[in-house]
């Protein structure tokens, strides 16, 4: 089973501090990592390969430095990596990004599955996975939390929806976007890291992919960001301390008054 996994590099934000004055993230010293939700896609792909054979190819669109994310995926167990990189790709919205990635996938030959993370934690749109499926005309299952059966020409999955899990059976090739319930991402092994260091990452540019300039990067994007605002971080709410019996009762009483005042009870 040959699998393609498009991933994204995002700023590592779990330890980021906020600037209390401006309400912005303090970005100094923030390193980039593989989008956390993409790790579940990578793990899912590797597990399928281990079970059914085949090859896992990881690809990412980004600057040259994004090669690090590709190598990390190889260290986890992916077989090959591709960096889709060109100055012309900068500023792409989800429409232009899904176009660029789908054109790359077309050049990679045959495959049975494309797996992506449900969304990236920076842009938080979740639009690129379904977009790629639309460009490629692949059957799509989003929010996949479990793969229950795989045959030579079909896959059965559970997807997390509003009131439970919807069970879908679909023909291959198909595209899945996955949520974290699906797997526990493994850590790269020493051997994997060695392999990653030694592997050549193929770089594909707009020319290599024979892309129409009018469909890529900022120029090819159909949406425009026209205004950025920095919302105030602090709500300046009332904070009370609860210690000792009186303190406890007073704090709970104050909360109760708050709830009454705001008509929440």
């Amino acid at each position: 089973m040959d699998i393609i996994i498009p991933i994204k590099q995002v700023p590592e934000t779990s330890n980021v501090k906020m600037d209390k004055e401006t309400g912005t993230m303090i970005r100094e010293g923030v390193v980039s990592v593989i989008n956390p939700l993409d790790l579940y896609a990578i793990e899912t792909g590797i597990q399928l390969k281990e079970k059914f054979g085949g090859k896992v190819t990881v690809c990412t669109m980004g600057p040259q430095s994004a090669v690090k994310a590709v190598k990390e995926a190889i260290a986890m167990g992916c077989d090959e990596g591709i960096l889709i990189s060109d100055k012309k790709f900068a500023g792409a919205d989800t429409w232009a990004t899904s176009y660029t990635i789908s054109e790359t996938i077309k050049k990679l030959g045959s495959y049975e599955l494309v797996i992506t993370g449900e969304r990236a934690t920076d842009g938080d749109t979740g639009q690129v996975g379904p977009g790629i499926a639309a460009w490629l005309g692949l059957p799509l299952a989003t929010y996949v939390s479990k793969i229950t059966n795989v045959t030579s020409d079909s896959i059965t999955v559970e997807r997390l929806v509003k009131d439970g899990y919807q069970i879908l059976k679909m023909p291959l090739p198909a595209l899945l976007t996955v949520v974290k319930e699906i797997s526990n991402p493994r850590l790269p092994t020493l051997r994997g890291k060695k392999k990653a260091r030694a592997s050549q990452i193929q770089v594909m540019s707009a020319v290599d992919l024979q892309l129409n300039d009018a469909c890529i990067g900022l120029k090819g994007s159909l949406t425009r960001v026209i205004k950025i605002q920095y919302p105030k971080v602090s709500r300046g709410g009332k904070i009370v301390k609860a210690s000792g019996e009186t303190g406890l009762n007073d704090a709970v009483e104050a909360l109760f008054q708050f709830l009454v005042e705001k008509k929440l009870i």
Partner: protein, 334 residues
């Protein structure tokens, strides 16, 4: 025809509440442009009375594509149908809910009809002069609000965060037209089959659409302690949420996870205990109307975002709150 459309959602013939929230958003936009508001629904076995409610809640027209094969959401056929309707009727704007269906359907449609799409908007407006839809959404972990538009393509499309607006009240004097449409055979894509549904053993939570969410984190110390929060949640008819830490420890299933790698929510009241407030968590709750936080650490990030905070031991505080609410209810009942 330049109308404003909302994509209504149904389940087993019943409309989901988010359909009405979209209509209140759409109503404002349609009035500003001076055009009609239409609700579009795909499904099967939906009664006239149910469709009528879309009119009583703000729509002037309801397009209902009625076919047994549309009973369950299947993105391929749904996307074909919506793209076909768009080509036929040329709407100005389409709003869909930022739910698992809406966030799957709309990016698929955007490619089919070549237009822009903005995800998970919390504010919408119409630009003076151009009539472009101004779509505002939290970005970069909720630390900025970005306003986005699609300047050269139509329709203007956005998904809208559930619970980020209130439905209009039911107005029995409203009138409108229900247009029943037949599913065109060439739009049916049967490659993906729905085989069934599975619910979690315990009652399945839909934290995105809950009015009140009571969430716990690492500070709860173990799964059994969620019983405290479960009681608190039930006193508000709310649902249980959890931080990523709590879900990663297996204390609650992933469907409860609040934050950037879980669900982004906008309840009327968010109460959290033992959650310090990572950037990702705060981004997931930022648009809640009221936030109440209980945490031992006075410097916890969560207090920055709290409308009311208690610094102290949650194992002492929550039982007292539960007792207080119980006493209050009893008093009210007398």
């Amino acid at each position: 025809m330049n109308h404003v459309w909302t994509i209504a959602e149904q389940n087993k013939g019943k409309l989901r509440a988010v359909s009405f929230e979209l209509l209140s958003r759409g109503r404002k936009l349609a009035d500003k442009i001076g055009t009609k508001l239409c609700a579009v629904l795909l499904g099967a076995n939906v009664s006239d009375e149910t469709l009528q409610e879309l009119i009583l809640r703000g729509a002037e027209e309801v397009y209902f594509v009625d076919d047994a094969r549309l009973e369950n959401f299947i993105v391929e056929t749904y996307s074909n149908v919506l793209a076909d309707l768009i080509r036929q009727y040329r709407p100005h704007t389409i709003l869909a809910a930022a739910t698992s269906s809406g966030r799957t359907l709309m990016p698929h449609v955007a490619i089919q009809v070549t237009t822009g799409l903005t995800a998970d908007c919390t504010e919408l407006d119409i630009e003076e002069g151009t009539n472009h839809l101004l779509q505002t959404r939290p970005a970069i972990g909720g630390n900025i609000m970005a306003t986005i538009k699609t300047p050269n393509h139509s329709p203007q499309m956005a998904t809208v965060r559930p619970k980020s607006s209130r439905p209009l009240t039911l107005d029995r004097t409203r009138q409108g037209e229900i247009v029943r449409l037949v599913l065109k055979e060439e739009l049916v894509d049967l490659r993906v089959q729905v085989i069934g549904y599975r619910k979690e053993a315990e009652e399945f939570v839909n934290i995105e659409e809950a009015e009140v969410v009571v969430a716990g984190g690492k500070g709860l110390k173990k799964a059994e302690n969620f019983v405290l929060l479960r009681e608190l949640a039930s006193r508000f008819n709310g649902v249980l949420g959890a931080s990523r830490d709590a879900v990663d420890r297996g204390w609650l299933p992933y469907s409860h996870q609040v934050g950037l790698s879980g669900k982004t929510i906008s309840p009327k009241l968010y109460i959290c205990a033992g959650i310090s407030g990572s950037i990702q968590h705060l981004a997931g709750i930022k648009t809640s109307e009221y936030i109440v936080a209980i945490n031992q650490d006075p410097d916890a990030n969560i207090f920055q975002l709290a409308d009311f905070g208690i610094v102290g031991n949650l194992f002492e505080i929550i039982p007292l709150i539960n007792a207080k609410l119980a006493a209050h209810k009893k008093k009210e009942g007398e």
